[in-house]
């Protein structure tokens, strides 16, 4: 299959480019933007799990991002815990809060669930802001240590540089992606999409709605918390200003712009929006107006996101340059059983 090969080659090329990116002599500032972009990719992938696949839109992702950040940072600061232990604990703390919050609220239908996540996000932000004895309120947490060096015998990896942080985030993202891919193209992924499509039919097929919804939500909280811990270890300073509803909306836009319900979409969306927001800083106060207009036109003309545009380009090229053998359906189901939905990259 030519299109399969193109897909593998493109994925390989992008991963390779990402791996050598810091070695190309890019300015430190662009490396910083790239790190933020990759962190947002993890966040957008997390949201995509509950919103894109399961169909339950959540505006609480910034709150889970914050929980992961604060929990891991506080563990590092107060009990001098190593980053390598504090980060997974921070992510698990976010997942646990996700379970506790999701169990009662995921029964709510449509907009009511969205509103509950909006309220939850705001509550968490207010906790960060007002629980001064622990979170130091609006001043935030400063002096968060960088991840400890890792000695591999012949070489020691350090993470207090931008390059080190970049590779840490990139490797985490790639590991997340490998598991994410497995999950999406498995019984779990099918169950989540079935819930998205028709809850009653899904339930009658033997899918436990509560279990799968809470599972997807907890996992999305886990990924957000993980991104939060990485963020704290990189930026070394966190404050409630980062974990606002505005940030939750940004994550949402990244997912939608890239293409929800796909794997490549949220990553493409996260990296491009992060880059866009940074470069538009030259427009100062007009930045958000331009951003808003851009979003408006993208949603209007590209409802499937960037991934949808790529798929359209592919169909267009396929129509222009037809393959000698048409895409037959006579092949055995094989891995095709879990084939991506049309338009997915």
């Amino acid at each position: 299959m030519r299109s399969e090969w193109i897909k593998y080659a493109a994925t390989g090329a992008i991963i390779l480019l990402a791996l050598v990116f810091p070695l190309l002599g890019v300015k430190s500032y662009y490396l910083h933007v790239a790190i933020l972009g990759l962190l947002h990719a993890i966040l957008a992938l997390g949201l995509n799990l509950i919103a894109g696949y399961t169909g339950q839109l959540s505006l609480a992702q910034a709150a889970f991002f914050g929980i992961g950040s604060y929990v891991s940072a506080l563990l590092m600061l107060n009990v001098k815990m190593s980053f390598w232990l504090a980060a997974p604990i921070g992510a698990c703390a976010a997942a646990l809060v996700g379970i506790l919050f999701g169990l009662p609220t995921l029964r709510l239908k449509g907009p009511y669930f969205v509103i509950s996540t909006l309220g939850f996000g705001e509550i968490i932000r207010l906790v960060f802001l007002n629980w001064e004895s622990v979170t130091r309120g609006p001043n935030g947490l400063t002096g968060i240590p960088a991840p400890d060096d890792v000695a591999l015998g012949f070489v020691t990896l350090t993470f207090d540089t931008k390059t080190g942080a970049y590779y840490l985030v990139l490797v985490t993202l790639l590991a997340v992606l490998a598991l994410y891919y497995n999950l999406v193209y498995s019984r779990i992924g099918r169950a989540l999409r079935a819930i998205h499509s028709d809850q009653i039919a899904a339930e009658v097929m033997g899918i436990n709605l509560t279990f799968y919804k809470v599972f997807a939500f907890a996992l999305s909280a886990f990924l957000s918390g993980l991104a939060g811990a990485l963020y704290a270890g990189y930026i070394r300073f966190i404050s409630p200003d980062t974990f606002t509803i505005g940030e939750a909306v940004n994550i949402l836009i990244m997912m939608v712009l890239g293409g929800m319900g796909t794997i490549a979409g949220p990553i493409i969306g996260a990296v491009s929006i992060t880059y866009l927001l940074e470069t538009m800083r030259v427009f100062a106060d007009y930045r958000l107006i331009i951003y808003g207009l851009l979003m408006f036109f993208i949603i209007l003309y590209m409802p499937q996101g960037l991934v949808g545009v790529l798929a359209m380009a592919k169909d267009f090229l396929a129509a222009r340059f037809p393959l000698p053998i048409s895409r037959g359906t006579d092949e055995p189901p094989g891995q095709k059983g879990a084939a991506p939905v049309k338009g997915e990259i």
Binding site: D198, M205, I207
Partner: protein, 256 residues
Amino acid sequence: MLLECAGLTMRFGGLTAVDAVDLKLEKGQIMGLIGPNGSGKTTFFNMVSGIYKPTAGEVRLSGRNIAGRRPDYVASCGIARTFQNIRLFSGMTVWENVMIGRHCRMRQSILDDILGTARKQAEEKAAQEYLTGLLTLFKMQHMLHEQAKNLPYGKQRELEIIRAMASEPELLLLDEPAAGMNPQETAELIEFIRKLRDMGVTILVVEHDMKLVMNTCDRIAVLNNGRKIAEGSPREIQTNEAVIKAYLGKKVKEGA
């Protein structure tokens, strides 16, 4: 006895939709459930499949009481169903639809799925083999990658039945499978249901199309106003006084 319903009752506020219905179904039988509109047939189905929690009564599947249990539990016990208005996963392919139908028969754990273990591969392969056979039997193997919503109407109905069959159910509930079908499609559906019977599936079917009911069912139960008013072979039902009354109304002097 595969299915035994005893005193099954459903009340919505002051309305009694299904009133103390008893029904028994033997393994391998096809039973038709008929009755005028609003007689409680679909409500009855919803109770058996777990969507409604019965107000009173029992639903026993091979002796185990499943009344009031959640639909996903009922499905894993071996009851599969279709819906009066088709409820396919419309944006997903034919293959994905039947794979989801197989969900409750796949035994891998969540970790198997996320890590992509050998156990996951084995389960997926086993499902694939069974489903390929099933789809071939019902002549849908050439449209695996079509989206469900793009299928012709009759095929969508059939796909919904195949999806229900994917879980190898003990009991198959069909809710008005011929609704909206033209005579040609109905004739094909009758063939389809006969094939299911040859496979030894036990079926309870709600249907208005008398041609289908009389041609496929071994026994027929009739509901009217939530009560079972008759049960018997198709021939007995055709001549049953109470049934004729329910469908055609009472004689003038009684009804006035």
